[in-house]
């Protein structure tokens, strides 16, 4: 095959979503296989690996993010229906939720306020800009909610998406050992803490500790999304 044909094919591929969509799935499949080989060690995080691989490919080929996203948007779009689908595990475990309703409500309010206020306070103390602070505030909640909250606070939604994912990765890597350190062994409390602080990526990690841990992580992720969406604008209206 001549180099001309090859580069013509490359140009042709850039006109549709197929190539970058396929590459996104391939990068994730490779990252997932690596994580499995490492027996799902928390430090071998599939999201971090897939993102690093794709960033490397985009840089090497000089592809703008907007063109990549034209293909990847089909995966990204599923975050919306996936958020709606969280109602199913919540419904399935409604008895366990009802039994721990009041303790969870207290932990949720305290945890949500801690996550939002401490992020902004630490960033402020270290001289971060206003837009960065507003983008950091909803870092613990799932991407679609966090992006909407950041926009309301005067932050940058696309920066928030990155910070949310970094939070999920860091949380998934470190929450388990941290909870061990504080001797929190109750599976419901462990799951709820991981899901509240590290949303979907933390929840995916929590399911590797066990079904009950994962379920409570899912509940914390879903409820913290709602609470932070209401709480953050009330606490941080002054940031705008």
């Amino acid at each position: 095959m001549s180099p001309e044909r090859l580069s013509a094919f490359w140009v042709y591929l850039q006109t549709g979503p197929l190539f970058w969509l396929t590459l996104t799935l391939a990068a994730y499949a490779l990252a997932h296989a690596l994580a499995r080989r490492a027996r799902f060690h928390p430090l071998v995080n599939p999201v971090a690996i897939a993102v690093a691989l794709l960033v490397a490919v985009l840089s090497l080929t000089g592809t703008p993010y907007a063109r990549y996203f034209e293909g990847a948007q089909f995966v990204h779009f599923l975050l919306g229906p996936a958020t709606v689908a969280l109602a199913v595990p919540l419904w399935r475990h409604r008895e366990a939720v009802r039994a721990a309703l009041l303790p969870m409500a207290v932990a949720l309010l305290v945890g949500a306020a801690t996550a939002v206020l401490s992020a902004v306070a630490i960033a402020w103390a270290l001289g971060a800009s206003r837009a960065t602070m507003a983008s950091l505030a909803p870092k613990s909640v799932t991407t679609p909610i966090a992006m909407a909250v950041a926009e309301q606070l005067g932050g940058l939604p696309s920066l928030t998406a990155v910070l949310v994912i970094a939070t999920g990765i860091l949380g998934a890597m470190t929450a388990g050992p941290l909870l061990d350190l504080f001797r929190v062994r109750e599976p419901r409390a462990r799951g709820f803490a991981i899901g509240l602080a590290a949303h979907g990526i933390g929840t995916a990690r929590a399911f590797q500790e066990g079904q009950l841990v994962g379920t409570f992580a899912g509940i914390a992720m879903a409820t913290n999304g709602v609470v932070t969406a209401i709480l953050a604008p009330l606490l941080l209206g002054w940031l705008r």
Partner: protein
Amino acid sequence: MVHDLLILLSCQLAGEASVFFLELPVPGPVIGFLLLFSICLVRGRIPAGLETTAPVLLSHLSLLFVPAGVGVILHLSRIVEEWPAILAALLLSTWLAVAVTGLVLARLLPNAASAPR
């Protein structure tokens, strides 16, 4: 499968519509999530099919975060400029949220098998 997707997307659409017209401070999919949960409550069961579709969608939740994560490429200069504040805020605040939430809930849960007294 078609029917299940239709339910999920309809809930999301209804959520987006209520956010738009009622000017709610919450994203559309969250209202859609509450709507689907209310439907389950009213009908006393999960709409047929969703029982299997929802876990499929949720089992590779990590994948869905990848396209947004690649967006880091757009913000490299801001991140390089403000990285000490950003990294400290992410790490310390995440640790605080994990520890505070875990400790509060472990203390408050009834008949927790291993709760320290």
